[in-house]
């Protein structure tokens, strides 16, 4: 494909070369002065480990599995997210955990295993979109790293606690005992 290169007609002033250089120097000096009188935190560069960038709304970072007020997992193991996931990185094993049914205040199904392979995840957010229970959120934590591959396999309890400190919630490692739960009874 031929490209027509636009020929710029230079004025004689531009062709002296010194004048454009001088203009350029004024510009660069402007930048220099601007940066000289801007404190480091206000510059464009975010000094990463010292300063953290505040991610915008809608940023898709590390997942969180949401929980009810009593600490039980919101996820009902419907496999919608696993189905939607283009990277196929969600592994769910469902379990039955109560003889009571929904009208009596309980979901009868929950994930026994809920695993996301963070190395394969592409943070597309489809799982969040697919979830009928609003149980999985992609939030703003972008600092995912580990020394080995196994640590990047986030299990159910990892995922439930990912934002525990940030939200001031307690870290939980067991499912609460089923009991009649008021917020569900109103359903």
């Amino acid at each position: 494909m031929a490209v027509i290169v636009k020929q710029v007609k230079l004025s004689w002033l531009d062709r002296t070369y010194f004048w454009p250089v001088f203009k350029g120097m004024v510009i660069t000096f402007g930048h220099f002065l601007r940066n000289l009188f801007t404190s480091t935190p206000k510059r464009y560069t975010v000094q990463y480990p010292d300063m953290k960038r505040v991610m915008p709304e809608g940023y898709r970072g590390l997942h969180e599995l949401k929980r009810h007020a009593d600490g039980s997992i919101k996820c009902v193991a419907c496999f919608m997210c696993a189905e939607a996931c283009p990277a196929r990185c969600i592994t769910i094993r469902a379990e039955e955990f109560s003889d009571l049914n929904l009208t009596q205040g309980f979901e009868e199904k929950r994930p026994r295993v809920f695993k996301i392979d963070m190395l394969r995840c592409i943070y597309c957010g489809y799982c969040e979109e697919a979830c009928p229970k609003d149980a999985i959120w992609l939030r703003k934590d972008y600092e995912l790293s580990a020394y080995d591959r196994l640590s990047m396999q986030y299990g159910k309890w990892d995922l439930m606690n990912t934002y525990a400190e940030e939200d001031g919630k307690a870290r939980i490692t067991t499912d609460p005992k089923p009991a009649v739960c008021s917020q569900k009874a109103s359903l």
């Binding site: 010194f18 250089v21 930048h31 480091t40 560069t45 000094q47």
Partner: protein, 349 residues
């Protein structure tokens, strides 16, 4: 002065000589080391970046200044690699060949006004006026620096290096002439070539005003002379890797690198001496030793900064563009400048 030297049991002459050697040798070295920092931080600011600010001494970052020391230590501790096919002797010699002319350049440049103390006259330049070399010395020595580049290139036995060295020497030839012509015009109008006399002749009116054209030519040539952007053809990341420096590492690299910066300091000092009145202070007839040294330092540092500033403003030239500019623009310009001043002198009689 006399009491000071008596305290050290030295004759005033010896004492003054030692002081001068220290100033002339350590001064450019210190400024050059600082310049590496200025270059990096300054360029960062020009480009809206932050620049090196992580090196710290006991947790104090000191706006990145420890980086200089860190770089030096790193250069010393690195493995010293010599390519198997290189000419070992020349390979070792090249950094010295680059370094020595760079440091020698300051020898005749007066860095302050001569002063009298206890019946002696003390001159503020390593070699006293009337040494017969005058301004020719830094010019000649400055041109020697290309041997460092050339020897480095040749001895590395590497195509990139050879190309870089070849470019450096071609470049040197093509602007040495216009540079010398610009300087000759100054020698002509001043009627002398000793830097002390040149500065004397700039009383009241700095050379930059009557010799503005010559200044532009000289200044442009200095960029080529110091091998800096926009004329850094001896290197060229995108074409010939690091050019003549490709095979160099560790302290040998650091030495060549440092000598380039010393060269830059000397070039600034030359510009100041030739065109900006040396140690003269505007509107002060006799600034005295302290003020004159301060003035010289301030001017030199300013031009060092201009070198950095221009480097981060102007993109690189192409090799043929420089050759064209050297022969077809700079040479005629300095010839015009030369003939113009010759004509003026002829008219004045």
């Amino acid at each position: 002065m006399d009491t000071l030297s008596a305290l050290l049991h030295l004759s005033p002459e010896t004492f003054w000589m030692i002081v001068k050697i220290l100033v002339v040798f350590a001064g450019p070295l210190t400024i050059a080391a600082l310049l590496t920092w200025v270059e990096r931080r300054g360029s960062a600011m020009i480009q809206d970046r932050i620049g090196p600010n992580r090196a710290a001494i006991f947790g104090f970052r000191l706006i990145g200044l420890p980086q200089i020391a860190a770089d030096g230590i790193k250069a010393f501790l690195k493995e010293d690699l010599v390519p198997a096919e290189a000419n070992k002797v020349l390979f070792w010699l090249a950094p010295l060949l680059a370094f020595i002319p760079a440091v020698l350049g300051m020898a005749v440049i007066p860095f302050g006004q001569s002063f009298e103390s206890g019946g002696h006259t003390y001159h503020m330049s390593l070699l006293d006026p009337g040494n017969g070399m005058g301004m020719l010395f830094p010019m000649a020595i400055g041109a020697m620096a290309v041997y460092g580049v050339l020897v480095a290139a040749w001895s590395s036995n590497n195509k990139w290096s050879i190309l870089g060295g070849m470019r450096a020497s071609a470049q040197m030839v093509s602007d040495e002439l216009s540079m010398s012509l610009a300087v000759i015009a100054i020698f002509m109008t001043a009627g002398a070539y000793d830097p002390h006399d040149l500065i004397q002749a700039q009383y009241g009116l700095w050379n930059v005003v009557p010799h503005f054209l010559g200044f532009l030519v000289f200044f442009t040539c200095m960029f080529a002379e110091t091998n800096r952007l926009p004329f850094d053809f001896a290197e060229g990341e995108s074409e010939i890797v690091a050019g003549f420096l490709t095979e160099y590492g560790s302290m040998k690299f650091a030495l060549i690198y440092l000598s380039e910066y010393i060269h830059l300091v000397v070039a600034s000092a030359l510009i100041v001496t030739l065109y900006f009145g040396g140690w003269r202070v505007p509107f002060v007839a006799n600034p005295g030793p302290w003020l004159s040294v301060a003035s010289f330092l301030a001017k030199t540092l300013f031009f060092c900064w201009v070198f950095v500033w221009v480097r981060w403003t102007v993109p690189r030239f192409r090799y043929d563009q420089l050759m064209k500019m050297g022969w077809k623009v700079l040479l005629p310009l300095s010839l015009i400048n030369f003939l113009f001043h010759a004509f003026l002198m002829f008219r004045r009689g």
